[in-house]
Symmetry: C2
């Protein structure tokens, strides 16, 4: 596996959201929010689950399950695929993370606790991911569904392109 993600040495992510911001705050906030959400719903926010969420928040990029597993293994939290997949299942099924279908990858949810239809903007160079919103039945897709009698239950919207930072570097 080649490393395509440029690494940053600090907690200040170069292009996230895609705004610069102090990332250590948003990690702490998001972990706290997850903790609250789990407490409220009597969910078991175990060390492995917590650590996987932290990893996703720290990188703030789409990450493959095996990338996450590698980190977990290095930290002694488990070395087999199910360890990563189980944590990711937990996070995605409770709205704390999302799966990016196009990349077979996972990313922390930007709006945990809110019922929403995420839409992703994915940079093809740096793999940064921003989460936007769409409606379940809005726009032309909803029109098409209604016209044919199709009942929409879930929608995946994923855009690939260049984030502001990479677009600038490209030019």
């Amino acid at each position: 596996m080649t490393q395509t993600t440029p690494r940053t040495s600090s907690q200040i992510a170069p292009s996230v959201g895609f705004d610069r911001h102090d990332h250590s705050h948003c990690i702490a906030d998001a972990v706290q929010a997850a903790e609250d959400l789990c407490a409220a719903q009597k969910l078991n926010f175990t060390p492995a689950r917590r650590r996987v969420l932290e990893i996703l928040l720290q990188r703030h990029r789409a990450m493959g399950a095996y990338d996450i597993l590698e980190i977990l293994a290095a930290e002694g939290l488990g070395a087999q695929p199910p360890v990563a997949y189980r944590a990711l299942d937990f996070l995605t099924s409770h709205g704390l993370a999302h799966r990016i279908e196009r990349m077979n990858a996972y990313t922390a949810c930007a709006h945990p606790g809110e019922d929403h239809v995420p839409a992703f903007l994915i940079c093809r160079l740096c793999k940064a991911v921003a989460e936007a919103e769409t409606g379940l039945e809005g726009g032309r897709l909803g029109d098409a569904a209604r016209a044919t009698g199709f009942v929409i239950e879930k929608v995946v919207v994923e855009a690939e392109g260049l984030c502001p930072t990479c677009a600038e570097a490209e030019a």
Copy 2:
């Protein structure tokens, strides 16, 4: 994987598009259109490529590469994964078929030759797929992209739910 797709014995598909129609016509038309398109662009519409397109058109459902490979192998057109993947690469890169990211599957394009952003309605029971249209920059996703400076190059829109036939059977 269990077989969830109800099989029909004739060329009349039960729910396609999702309208009933004489499917043998649309297969012939689509193959002819592909042939014309390849001729116009000096592309090599080889037997394997043609056969894979026919298979996708016949089933008119999302099919995995290995499902297609199985059929090719039975017909003596090749038994190794690259045979199927190469044909699918050709078809998808020239707009004759699309990949359904959510299902790791492939389906024939309903509008070959037209430049378009496909949006799919996928039945979770019978796996039937209808192709609708969306714009590259329309709606809230485009707004979000412009607001952040993200340059959209490609968009994936996939809705999962129940087709009219299965929704009825469900009730």
